[in-house]
């Protein structure tokens, strides 16, 4: 939870995923969408901001077995997945990346530097396949025989994650999804960021932000 400054509007801290941790620097990747990110954009080197974190859980990794990680990013959902790709690089992960248009595909150089060439789709066809990234994942898994050798790690807009859950279910693949919700406290106190799961409402800030796809009532 990052406080962009001490003014009263915007009032609340904002939840961000950790993008990368490079030579002692914590990096956040954000898109300017409203008041807080507009303020963030004006920040200069040396400016001080307050944050609390890290909060919540992370992606559950299975680095021991033969399971191949399949990373799926949609739009700004790329933010937490670069560091994950770096972490599982030795397992030769597959990486699928969808965006609205070619100019919204970010971090391609970063992915390249860790030896990952993502399979890309765009809504408008300006890069990679025209269509949704979930279709690429579906085709990929259809061509594979034993789906239990794959594990999906995804972050992106809710409709994409819901569709991807369908793909995971169809191919009987485990899938873990990092969700985003508006938050007030970030520490599990306010109960403002809940999502409906098979066990009732759960807090995205505390029990999440990563959930198994079959826990969520999409």
């Amino acid at each position: 939870m990052l406080s962009v400054d001490s003014r009263l509007d915007p009032l609340l801290k904002r939840p961000f995923s950790l993008h990368r941790f490079v030579s002692g620097d914590l990096q956040f990747l954000y898109k300017v969408v409203g008041k807080a990110t507009s303020i963030l954009k004006e920040k200069k080197t040396g400016d001080i901001m307050e944050l609390i974190g890290p909060l919540g859980n992370g992606f559950p990794l299975n680095q021991a077995g033969k399971v191949k990680p399949v990373l799926v990013a949609g739009g700004m959902g790329i933010a937490p997945l670069v560091a994950l790709a770096e972490k599982v690089a030795k397992q030769e992960p597959f990486f699928f990346y969808g965006a609205r248009s070619a100019d919204e595909l970010l971090c391609l150089d970063e992915l390249d530097s860790i030896g990952i060439a993502p399979v890309v789709s765009t809504d408008d066809g300006t890069a990679g396949r025209k269509g949704f990234v979930t279709e690429l994942v579906d085709e990929f898994l259809t061509k594979r025989h034993s789906s239990d050798l794959y594990s999906i790690y995804a972050c992106g807009p809710k409709p994409m994650l819901a569709a991807l859950s369908g793909v995971a279910k169809k191919h009987k693949v485990k899938a873990y999804m990092a969700l985003e919700e508006s938050m007030a406290c970030g520490v599990g106190a306010c109960l403002g960021c809940v999502i409906k799961t098979v066990d009732g409402y759960k807090r995205v800030c505390k029990e999440g932000p990563v959930f198994s796809f079959d826990d969520i009532m999409w």
Binding site: S3, L8, D9, P10, L11, L12, K13, E50, I52, E181, S182, M183, A184, C185, G186, V187, G188, A189, C190, L191, G192, C193, V194, I195, K196, G200, Y201
Partner: protein, 302 residues
């Protein structure tokens, strides 16, 4: 420097409390502040049975404030007593349990159950919730119903009884007087102000529940005015709250008539806010050469 405050039978070492629903069951903030330093800790509102709350979205930010429609989600009194209260007993800070019901009978049962537990120092009644025996109108907006429910709970508990008042009324001082007459040891105010926000592109309410409760600095002047009005009509202590994020805010509430203050939304903005406010109050009374905090309460010069 005397910072102590008496609220009913509870002796607070300082006037800084947490507001119900913003501090969880205490453990959520234990990594940020020393719970022992709080004047009192008020936990998330409880009912006899667990409640799952409203569908999301439950919160929306507004200028200098936020609307929430959590829907009183809670784990229920039994689970609180088994799983959360033992943790809170380790601290030397009084624990005040906020609770509610949907009928007079349920309030009474809840108060009885909570009063039998060891480690609860006071009860705070939320009367800003719907009454199933009166067409789901809000308990705390009708003086007769307020009197009935508060006096019934009064008979069911020997613990310090605080009544948390709804600001969504025409005359809050009348409601405070009603609570006092019904046997309350103190009143706390204000609960959130009913509000609404609309997404102009989708033309849908921003909250799934349509309406929500407004809190944060945006409501502070309303809350200060209401504390001032109540102070002139009642003799029992007032716990003031509504948008407090600095020591100056807290002092303003005390001058208006509050004996103690509670911090709610401020905890979300700064998880260490209670300690910041406490040290700011100490600096203030030291700079103003005030010996006892009690000298501040109600001392606004109108």
């Amino acid at each position: 420097m005397d910072l102590s405050v008496d609220i009913g039978k509870i002796k607070l070492k300082n006037p800084v409390m947490t507001a119900s629903g913003t501090f969880g069951y205490g453990e959520e903030y234990a990594g940020f502040i020393d719970i022992n330093e709080l004047g009192a800790l008020v936990v998330k509102g409880l009912s006899l049975l667990p409640k799952q709350g409203n569908p999301p979205p439950r919160i929306v930010e507004t200028p200098a404030g936020m609307l929430n429609a959590i829907g009183l989600q809670n784990i229920g009194i039994d689970k609180f007593l088994q799983e959360k209260l033992p943790y809170l007993r380790q601290f030397n800070t009084p624990v005040i349990v906020n609770f509610f019901g949907d009928s007079v009978e349920e309030y009474v049962k809840a108060a009885e159950r909570l009063s039998s537990a060891d480690g609860i120092h006071g009860l705070e009644m939320n009367i800003s919730c719907p009454n199933k025996e009166a067409g789901w109108s809000v308990f705390g907006t009708d003086p007769e119903i307020t009197y009935r429910v508060v006096s019934s709970v009064r008979k069911a508990t020997d613990l310090t009884l605080i009544v948390k008042l709804s600001p969504n009324v025409t005359d809050i001082a009348l409601m405070a007087k009603t609570a006092e007459d019904a046997g309350a040891d103190a009143v706390s105010l204000i609960n959130t102000l009913t509000g609404m926000a609309i997404d102009i592109k989708t033309r849908k309410p921003k909250l799934a529940n349509i309406r929500g409760g407004l809190s944060g600095p945006a409501v502070k002047p309303v809350a200060v005015r209401m504390v001032w009005e109540c102070y002139q009509k009642i003799g029992i202590p007032i716990i003031g709250m509504g948008g407090i994020i600095t020591a100056d805010d807290a002092v303003e509430f005390m001058l208006a008539g509050a004996s103690a203050v509670a911090i709610g939304t401020g905890n979300f903005i700064n998880p260490g806010v209670t300690m910041d406010v406490l040290s700011g109050i100490k600096s203030f009374i030291s700079a103003e050469k005030i010996n006892s905090l009690k000298e501040l309460t109600g001392r606004v010069e109108c």
